[in-house]
């Protein structure tokens, strides 16, 4: 076997011009397969790590997946809000231990703004029950004295270069237009959270009262003309929130989750919905799973195409190698040696391409990780290749070995027929 391997290597090197292209296409296919798999895995892990310790998420009755997406991942928006008094009513169920309301809708320079209570910083957990930790400063007070205080996530601080004391202005909705800013009521950064690897890093946290304050003189989506309420004046108004977007609920016993969920769902005052985060996530993955499978199918197709290219290239070159095969027959190689030689050549090309592709995938993930972290709040790439990645890589190599048997078989037949006198 070893002499044939050396022969195959030399032979492939001799043809390295065309075979390099084939190897490159196999590398591309491997890159696609492996990096997509890594992305899929890391996105899933990231999502899963984003919320922990919360038994139910309550929102206006709509799609559970949508609720998860905007309440936890800050993706998309709510269709309607819920009234604070309804929320308090359902939270009075004896099985409820705590409730944290969330108000979404504003943003700051592309980062979402979350209005909530100081209890959020105690109750919110991520990963495996990890609590939020302040890297600098403190939480906002949630009282009228410290009305315009903000706590920012690690990515906001890093991306915009903010520190404690920074003055920031919130924008209404997604922002973008100069008129959409709450410029008259600037906030001050009093705390910076430590990095979590979740959407918390991209969020600016303020109190519910502050959200009310900045919208006092707004109606619809625009400031009311002619009405200006100065920041100090706003404190005199009733700033208790009437409406919020969603709420996180924790229970005294996790077994009571169904009872409380049903209690919220059948609340007569307002159409409400409570979802179990784990169940809603699985629903999300079912939806996403379709797309994942489509992507996987396409990547597999790319791999098949590149291997077909390998077969075609080696087959095409067989015609002018018939004398070479006759020489091999003359020195004592049998047709099966010829088959092995061709198959080994193809295998070497595949192996090279697969290794190149795997290295490129690892590099691509490392290179893209910072951007993905900044834009989507998802952590990419840490850790060794997953089992599925190994399996995909092995499948590419195995398919390459099988594909190489095709020109190998053709060479076998040619060698048998030609003997020592090839007709070319």
């Amino acid at each position: 076997m070893k002499p044939l391997l050396a022969l195959a290597a030399r032979s492939a090197w001799h043809r390295r011009g065309t075979l390099a292209l084939v190897s490159l296409s196999i590398a591309l296919a491997t890159l696609l397969l492996l990096s997509l798999e890594r992305l899929r895995q890391d996105v899933r892990t990231s999502f899963v790590q984003s919320v922990s310790g919360t038994d139910l998420i309550v929102g206006a009755r709509a799609s559970p997946v949508q609720l998860m997406l905007y309440a936890v991942f800050r993706i998309g928006g709510a269709t309607s809000n819920l009234r604070m008094d309804s929320l308090r009513a359902v939270a009075s169920h004896r099985a409820v231990a705590w409730m944290v309301p969330l108000s979404l809708g504003d943003s700051h320079r592309g980062y979402p703004v979350l209005g909530t209570t100081p209890e959020y910083f105690e109750r919110f957990r991520y990963g495996q029950a990890k609590p939020l930790v302040l890297a600098q400063g403190q939480r906002f007070a949630g009282t009228l004295d410290g009305l315009y205080e903000a706590v920012i996530g690690a990515e906001v601080a890093a991306g915009l270069g903010y520190g404690l004391g920074q003055r920031i202005v919130l924008s209404h909705g997604g922002g973008g237009l100069p008129g959409a800013e709450h410029a008259d009521k600037p906030f001050s950064v009093v705390g910076v959270l430590a990095r979590t690897g979740t959407p918390v890093d991209r969020t600016v946290h303020v109190s519910l009262q502050a959200i009310e304050a900045i919208h006092l003189d707004w109606v619809g989506g625009a400031p009311m003309p002619g009405l200006r309420i100065a920041p100090e004046q706003a404190r005199k108004f009733d700033l208790e929130p009437k409406q919020v977007t969603a709420a996180l609920i924790g229970l005294k016993s996790r077994v009571a989750v169904f009872a409380v969920q049903r209690h919220v769902n059948s609340f007569e005052g307002e159409p409400l919905m409570a979802v179990l985060p784990g169940v809603a996530l699985d629903e999300l993955w079912q939806l996403v799973g379709l797309g994942e499978r489509a992507l996987l199918a396409m990547s597999v197709l790319v791999a098949v195409v590149s291997l077909a290219g390998l077969v075609a290239t080696v087959l095409a070159g067989l015609g002018e190698r018939r004398r070479e095969l006759a020489v091999l027959r003359a020195v004592g190689a049998g047709p099966r040696h010829v088959l092995a030689l061709l198959a080994l050549e193809g295998t070497l090309v595949t192996l090279l391409g697969a290794l190149l592709g795997a290295a490129a995938a690892a590099l691509a993930v490392v290179a893209a990780a910072p951007w993905v972290q900044a834009t989507l709040g998802i952590t990419l790439g840490g850790g060794a290749p997953t089992a599925v990645q190994w399996a995909l890589w092995a499948a590419v190599v195995a398919a390459g070995i099988l594909a190489s048997l095709v020109p190998g078989w053709r060479a076998y037949r040619l060698s048998l027929a030609d003997g020592l006198s090839p007709r070319s």
Binding site: R10, V327, R329, A330, G332, G334, R336, L420
Partner: protein, 272 residues
């Protein structure tokens, strides 16, 4: 190099000494030579018939042909008379439709395909008219190629006292050492043919078959090549079968065969 009989002692330094020959034959599990006379018979054809698949008439029909060991045979005939086909049968690459071809007392048809290839690797050296070498191997690697497939020839190449018989052979065929590491594709045709001769002779195979090796060479080179080939075969004690259509070379060989003369199929075709 007279007619070899059982009584004639073979030179001691020759690799053709009886113990060596017996050893190579004893290694075979079956097909033992029936009598001692067969020890000096290199090739034996009996009742050979060969047709290419799909051909109406047989290409070759040879009732009996025996070639003794150590001879040089000049096989001639016009183009297309089946010389290459006969060579393929002699080397065991083709199998006869009927009849038997035996090398060193072993019938090719009696061996399994893998054993045939191994037997060919062990005992036969082959020279083509051109394109003898693998372009992606160096000159040295090309010469050593048969040793990759035959442990016996590899052992004999080193056992002859040289450190790697390939270098010595290349010296003897007159190839300058500066070329030895070069890829074979960079050599001229004349140089390639000389390397081909070295490759065919490495490990001293019992039979060397040359299929018109000089047809692509010019007159000067041809003579030099002939000297070279004949000299080396003599030194190695190998039987040489040399195929050509060029009658002028015939005189240098100890035996001359005309294929159309011994091929009954050609006679029949001629008569038809």
């Amino acid at each position: 190099m007279g007619a070899a009989t059982m009584a004639e002692p073979l030179p001691a330094t020759h690799c053709r000494d009886p113990s060596c020959a017996v050893e190579s034959l004893a290694a075979a599990p079956a097909g033992q030579p029936r009598d001692a006379a067969a020890l000096s018979t290199m090739l034996e054809l009996r009742g050979l018939r060969f047709s290419w698949p799909g051909a109406a008439a047989p290409t070759l029909a040879i009732d009996e042909l025996t070639l003794a060991a150590g001879r040089t045979v000049f096989l001639h005939g016009p183009s297309g008379c089946g010389k290459s086909t006969l060579l393929g049968l002699l080397a065991g690459v083709l199998l006869p439709s009927s009849g038997q071809v035996a090398l060193l007392g072993r019938s090719w048809a009696g061996l399994r395909a893998s054993r045939r290839d191994a037997f060919r690797a062990d005992h036969v050296g082959y020279i083509f008219q051109q394109f003898n070498l693998l372009p992606y191997l160096s000159v040295l690697d090309n010469v050593r190629l048969p040793c990759r497939f035959s442990r016996r020839r590899a052992q004999r190449a080193t056992a002859r006292g040289e450190e790697g018989g390939a270098e010595r052979l290349l010296e003897r065929v007159g190839l300058p050492a500066s070329l030895w590491a070069r890829p074979a594709a960079q050599l001229s045709v004349g140089q390639q043919q000389r390397v081909a001769a070295a490759r065919a002779l490495i490990g001293a195979p019992e039979l060397v078959i040359a299929d018109e090796p000089t047809s692509a060479l010019d007159a000067d080179r041809r003579d030099a090549f002939m000297d070279l080939l004949l000299g080396e075969c003599a030194a190695a004690g190998s039987t040489l079968i040399f195929v050509s259509h060029d009658q002028r070379l015939a005189a240098r060989f100890s035996q001359q065969l005309s294929l159309p003369a011994i091929n009954r199929a050609a006679v029949a075709a001629g008569a038809a």
